[in-house]
Each structure stands twice: as structure tokens, then as C-alpha cells.
Symmetry: C2
Subunit: 446 residues, 2 copies
């Protein structure tokens, strides 16, 4: 067997059905796919003739991380305003900044900055929703990253979209444009939420998503007062409401799903709705704690996500894994819940399933597309190594990612970006941010 690339001398966290760990393992890549996973000693053929050999130096080889909820260009607003109430944060800072500063060019630079951050911290796939999503798609294409992307639909004038009435058509146009355009980009439709979209909008957007055969993303039950904000009658939860509209099915990604009760849970299960869990954003905005332990126990597919940089304030999935593992233990008063294995699944294979890519990525198995990460463990904070899964969740940081491969292409090598020009991106973002800082000056500190 001839490989293009061989990753050797690693501990492979396969995330296959048995969650097999292979010590002294190797992964062979051919045609952008994983062609061999197993002991380094058993690699078929002549190792020496493989064009590219990556020595993992005893590090952890795992599936690329899947971030199931981002608003990539919002990295432009990272740390613009924190520690203030949600309405003030949105109305005095985020919405005005979006209206004032978003253009296709600024959106693209923000998205490229996010790509750089994601790549350097081991994320290979994201599921994004925002405005000017065409510019986001261009950024991801340039970065060589895998993504599911949805143009935002919302019932008020949005950046680049003064007429809300045209939003669904715009989202459909985006979906059609990016269908079959790139092997790594899957279009989607991102309908903002039950409190920013009317029933009519929600239904039309979902019908359009069905017609286009794409994922339907929607924020659901993020905050406790969402039923009020959405004008729902007493006793009608956002989940019940969405089910009544017919927008809940296996191709709907319910983002957040914090305020769900047992009835809502059975609705989600009955409709096989996919869930994106964003613990750090939910904590920082004081939204609440999603009962994802129960969701997983009920068989729901739950992926992990960071949310946008304005409410996190980073895209680091390692940090997100650690937070998820610890938060649910203290919340459920049980140190055995949300163990490291479950959290890694949530950040890889379950995330991939949640966004419709479970057959293609999310595990290190032959036949899958080669999205891989190598974590360096030759560092004081990652010693000793008793259990690799423990280190991934409780000790490793985004900065420990040494190699990142997407679809067989090496995009991070020895901690450095190979394809993106990080310096140029940072200079461009700083130029954009200069204007944002200036206009936000009047109320920039809480």
C-alpha cells in the first residue's frame, strides 16, 4: 500500500465504536483518506518510500475537533464588551458594531483570523452561521478547512441585508451557490431563533432547507426568558413551539437547548434533533446549564461548540472540553458524569454526526477523510501520561497542537500555519479593529 503521508510513533485515540487506543500506532493517508490505522510495527509496505512522514514523538493522534457552533467573523469583537447584561451587550455593543463595521472584506478578515485560531488549536471543522456568509465561505476555502455554513435569516434589517423579506431567498442563494462548489464546504441555512424570527419565517426557512437538502441551524431555548421574548403562550416552550411548526427533524441542529424540560427532551428525541452544546458561552452570558448528560443518556446526538468569540472569548475546543467535563459534574453533583471519553466523543464523532458529517469524519478509521490532529505531550503540564483521554480533556491546551491535517493536507506543521499567512491576517484585523475601538469608545468598559 502506498501512502502519501504516514503519521508514526503516536498514541492513537481512534474514537471508533470501541474507543480503541493504539499505543505505538501509525496512521497512513492516501488520496486524502485514512488508509491505515494500527500498530506502527504493522504498517504495510515500505515505510521509507512514503513521501511524507510525520513523527508524532509519542504524542496523541486524534480526530480533528469539530466545533458545532460558531459565528466566525465575531472574532472581530473579541473582548469588546464583557461582564454586562445580555441586552446591553447586544444592543449597545454587538448590534451597533455589526451594523457599523461589517462588510464582506471585514467579515472575511475576521473569519480568516478565526480559521487561524481554530487550526492552531486543533479544530478542523466548524458549523457556522452569520451574515455575509459568502465571505466566510471564501475564508474557509482559503484556509483549507472543512465547514457547514449557513447564511443568517432574521426578521430585522441585518448587516448587508436591509430588507428582512429577502433574507430567506438570500440564504437559499447562498446554499445553491456553495452546493458542490468545494468538497470541504457544505451549505446550510441558519435561522436565528424563535424570538428573532416569526413563525412564518421559521417555517419557510425550514422548508427551504428541506428543499435544498441542507442542515437547518437554529438557536433554541438559550435563555430562561426566551418564551417571553418569543411571545409564546404560558406553558409553551420554544421546543414545543418549534415542533408545532414542523421544523424539528433529524436535519435540524438545535443550538444551546439550555432551558429544556422532560417534555422537551422527549420531543427532541422523538424528532431525532441534533444538539450543539456551548458551555462556556452559556456560562459567560449566564444563560444556564444545558442538561446534556440526560440528552446523551436518551440517545440524542450532542456536539460541542464554542459559540462566537464575542461571548466566549475564544474558539479553543480543548478549553471547551475541560469546561464541559467539569461543569456537568458539579451541576449534577456527580464526579462520574460526562467522563473524558464522552467529552472527546462530543468534540469529534458526535459533533460530526450532529452536522451531518458522521460518515466522513470524526474518528480515526480507515475510509474516513483524513482530518487529524497531533497533540505534543513533551511538556511539563502533560506529564506523566497514564491515560491519554484524561490529558486531552483535563490538561492539554489548544496551544499543544503540533500538527493538523484536513482532508489529507497538512495545515499546521510543528505548531505553525503552513498555508495561511498569520501575520498578514493579524495586521488586517488590527486595522479593522482600530475603527471598531474608536466608535465603541463611549461605552467600552462595563
Amino acid at each position: 500500500m502506498a501512502f502519501e503521508t504516514l503519521i508514526t510513533n503516536g498514541i492513537i485515540i481512534t474514537v471508533n465504536a470501541d474507543f480503541e487506543i493504539i499505543y505505538n500506532g501509525a496512521v497512513g493517508i492516501a488520496g486524502g483518506r485514512i488508509a491505515y490505522v494500527g500498530p506502527a510495527a504493522d504498517v504495510p509496505g515500505e515505510t521509507a518510500s512514503t513521501p511524507h512522514i510525520i513523527d508524532a514523538d509519542g504524542g496523541l493522534v486524534m480526530p480533528g475537533l469539530v466545533n458545532t457552533h460558531t459565528h466566525l467573523p465575531m472574532s472581530l469583537f473579541r473582548g469588546l464588551a464583557d461582564d454586562i447584561p445580555l441586552d446591553r451587550w447586544l444592543n449597545n455593543h454587538i448590534f451597533p458594531a455589526e451594523q457599523k463595521h461589517l462588510r464582506p472584506e471585514t467579515v472575511k478578515w475576521g473569519a480568516l483570523l478565526s480559521c487561524a485560531e481554530m487550526l492552531l488549536s486543533g479544530t478542523t471543522t466548524c458549523c457556522d452561521g452569520y451574515f455575509f456568509e459568502d465571505a466566510v465561505a471564501e475564508a474557509l476555502s482559503e484556509a483549507g478547512m472543512r465547514a457547514v455554513l449557513g447564511q443568517g435569516v432574521i426578521d430585522f434589517p441585518a448587516p448587508g441585508l436591509p430588507d428582512p423579506g429577502a433574507n430567506i431567498q438570500h440564504a437559499v442563494d447562498f446554499a445553491r451557490k456553495w452546493k458542490n462548489r468545494s468538497p470541504l464546504i457544505l451549505p446550510s441555512i441558519f435561522c436565528h431563533s424563535p424570538y428573532t424570527c416569526s413563525a412564518k419565517t421559521l417555517v419557510s426557512a425550514k422548508q427551504a432547507a428541506k428543499r435544498e437538502n441542507v442542515l437547518f441551524q437554529v438557536h433554541v431555548a438559550e435563555t430562561r426568558n426566551e418564551p417571553d421574548l418569543a411571545g409564546l403562550p404560558p406553558g409553551r416552550s420554544p421546543v414545543k413551539y418549534l415542533e408545532s411548526l414542523g421544523v424539528l427533524d433529524a436535519d435540524t441542529l438545535a443550538v444551546h437547548a439550555v432551558w429544556v424540560d422532560m417534555d422537551d427532551l422527549s420531543i427532541l428525541v422523538r424528532n431525532n434533533v441534533k444538539i450543539s452544546h456551548n458551555p462556556e458561552s452559556n456560562m459567560k452570558l449566564a444563560s444556564g446549564i444545558s442538561p446534556v448528560g440526560a440528552m446523551i443518556d436518551c440517545g440524542l446526538v450532542v456536539g460541542l461548540g464554542t459559540d462566537g468569540c464575542a461571548s466566549n472569548n475564544n474558539l479553543d475546543m480543548f478549553s471547551e472540553m475541560g469546561t464541559a467535563a467539569r461543569l456537568h459534574k458539579v451541576s449534577r453533583k456527580d464526579p462520574t458524569v460526562m467522563n473524558a471519553e464522552k467529552v472527546i466523543r462530543m468534540a469529534t464523532i458526535e459533533g460530526a454526526r450532529a452536522i451531518g458529517l458522521g460518515d466522513r469524519i470524526g474518528s480515526v478509521e480507515t475510509g474516513k477523510e483524513a482530518d487529524l490532529v497531533v497533540v505534543d505531550i513533551r511538556q511539563p503540564h502533560l506529564l506523566p501520561l497514564y491515560h491519554p483521554v484524561s490529558h486531552v480533556v483535563y490538561a492539554a491546551r489548544g496551544g499543544d497542537v503540533r500538527y493538523v491535517m484536513i482532508n489529507g493536507n497538512l495545515l499546521v506543521s510543528n505548531f505553525r500555519l503552513t498555508q495561511l499567512d498569520g501575520k498578514d491576517i493579524m495586521a488586517r484585523v488590527n486595522a479593522v479593529a482600530k475603527n471598531i475601538r474608536f466608535s465603541d469608545r463611549d461605552e467600552c468598559r462595563p
Copy 2:
């Protein structure tokens, strides 16, 4: 004015009383102390004649982080067992491993590993309690780190201490040995907890601490069932119990203080007890959420800590800051609590105060001993920079620390240890861990 070292071109987060931020700032160091803090343009004397000039490259210059609760040698057990109930974790893994593997040499290598991790992630001072504390003190001395260290007192045979009756004398001997031995090491007495020490032990240990004029560290109210474990009568909380024994005063550091009610809070305030808050350990062990917001509002001095590596599983104070900021927001259902400034104070000046070093370190002010950290911000995940305090808490990671100075000595330069031999320490720890792994093999996975 002649400086030995000048840090220039930085954004200085002073953590002084006004929490002043100085853009384009400089810090001059002379005689191990901070001799100038202010605009780079106003540095007195000839900058060019300063022997050592550190260019912060626009990065953040802040006080060295103070970790108020560690068990440094427990890095040897990092990830040995996770996600299992506390009693099984302690009785089947940690206690046996401690009994079997701890000797002065192994403790020292574990402590040195922790020193390397702390330095590389910006911690300059720790407050530690463990067994073989003499070996821990030697490790910290070799590392050039600042610390408050207590030999452990506990009512059952402990590593190196088969006779519990001799424990207090042993702790006193340690305190006397290390008094005035090193300008950076302050001895202390670490009395484990109300459930592992009798009333007599608690009282004698506190009296000894008073006689020696050292800090008294004690775990208090960590878990909900601590009153039962300690055999307290109904209605008597651990805090009430300790007050009745006379061990609560301004030189007592109450570690964890998770299960405290309003009565306990007033007792802590009345006695001016210092608090060490360890959110990640409390979350991972599912102990609970300490009401530190209320504590700070009541005027208590609360420092931040990581706890030992076996229950965290890292010593990264940046991660701990992010967790503290987010956890209390969601727990109090209020995004305005525990803002970034408050959290930075907790990790610096308040931590210093909590362990009796508030006059010497914890802020960037003239006259203070020069414990400083420079955070690199030329990275995608730290752009743009609107508010430096936001980045420290919500976006920076331990690995972003570029320079670390303790008492005027540069111990990390351009992300590398200058004094410790990281490679040798890691090799030694791996050799120790090999034996631990072997003996823990029978029940190593949850």
C-alpha cells in the same frame, strides 16, 4: 536611576488600588524590586545603559500569578484516575499511590515538574501543603520560586510519617528549619481538615502556628457531607466547629469553603479568615460551588488556587481565571458578577494577601518585589485587543506567557525556562511514573 532590568513596550495591568492600566508602559527593576512603573516615555535616566532590556512587544505586563492552594508533588498522579467517586479516587488510587511511591526524591521531582509547569504558565508564587514538604521546599528553592509551604498534619499514618502523634512536631520542625532560610520561602503549617484531624490536633496545630507566627492552612467545608465525616452534631457546620476551637483568625487560610451558609459567612468575616477558592477542582470532584461572590462582597480576602494536579488536572492559573469568571456568572444567573478585574485581583493581589504576602507582591507598584509576567499577544486567539483585562481572563492561556520574573530574576525568557532543566525533570518524572503506572494497573480505568 539605574535599573538592572527594564521591561518596555508593554501594556501594564498594575492591579494597584485603582486598577490602573498603562499603555506604552515600562517597568524598571532594581535590587529585585520594582523601582519604576509608568509611561515608557518617562523612564528616568538613560534607558540604553540598563543592562537588561526586555521588549514586551506590545504584550501585557502583569503581576506574577499567585496560586493559593497546591499539593505540588501530586503532579506525579496527574490523570492517574478521573471521573470516579471521591472515596474510590482517594482510597483505591491516590492514598495507595502516595503510600507506595512517595519518598523525598520522588516528591522533589514531582514538585520540580510542577515548578516548571507553574513558571511556564505565569505563576510566581504558590501556597502548598503536602508530606515530605522539606523536599518540596528544596525544589522551589532550586526553581527560584516564591512560596508559602506547610508540612502536612493528619491523624493517620502518612507518607514518611508512620506515627501520627509526631506530626505536629514534624510540622513545627519544618517551620523552624525554613524560617529565615530563604527570602522567597515562608513556612506555614498545613492541617489537613476537620474530618481527618481531631479537635485536639486542630487546636494544637493552630497553637503551634501561632507560636511560630506562620500561616495556618486547612481544608474547610469542601464537600456537602463533611459534617458527617467529621462527626459533627446536627446544625454544626465545619466553620462553626473550627471557630469554637479557636482556630479561625486572620492568619488562617480556609481552603475551598464551598459549603458555607450565611452564618458561616459572618463567622469568616468576623474572624477575618482568608479564603482559597479552587473552582476547577471543586467542579471536577463535584464538590460544589463556593459562594465567593458573596464572600468578596462581604470584604473577605479571597485568593484563587488550582488544588493539586490529581484533581484539576493542571496548575494553569489562566484556565482557572476563565473558569472562575464563567462559573459564578452561570451559578448566580448574572453575567455581571465576577468580572474580569475582580478575577485578576483574586489571582494576584488578593491571593498575595490571603497568604500574608500582600505588602510584598501581587501588584506592579514601586517598592514591591519584582514578580512579573509578560503575556505575548501577537497570536490569533488574542486579537484584536480592546480591553487587556478581558484577554487575560477570557482568551489567554498559560502557554501565552513569554517572560516570568521572580524577585528580579528572569526565570522564563521567550517561553523557555532559564534556570530549570525541563528535559531532565521530565525524564526523571517519567522514570518515577513508570513504577506508579505498573502498580496502579489493576484499576486504572474508571
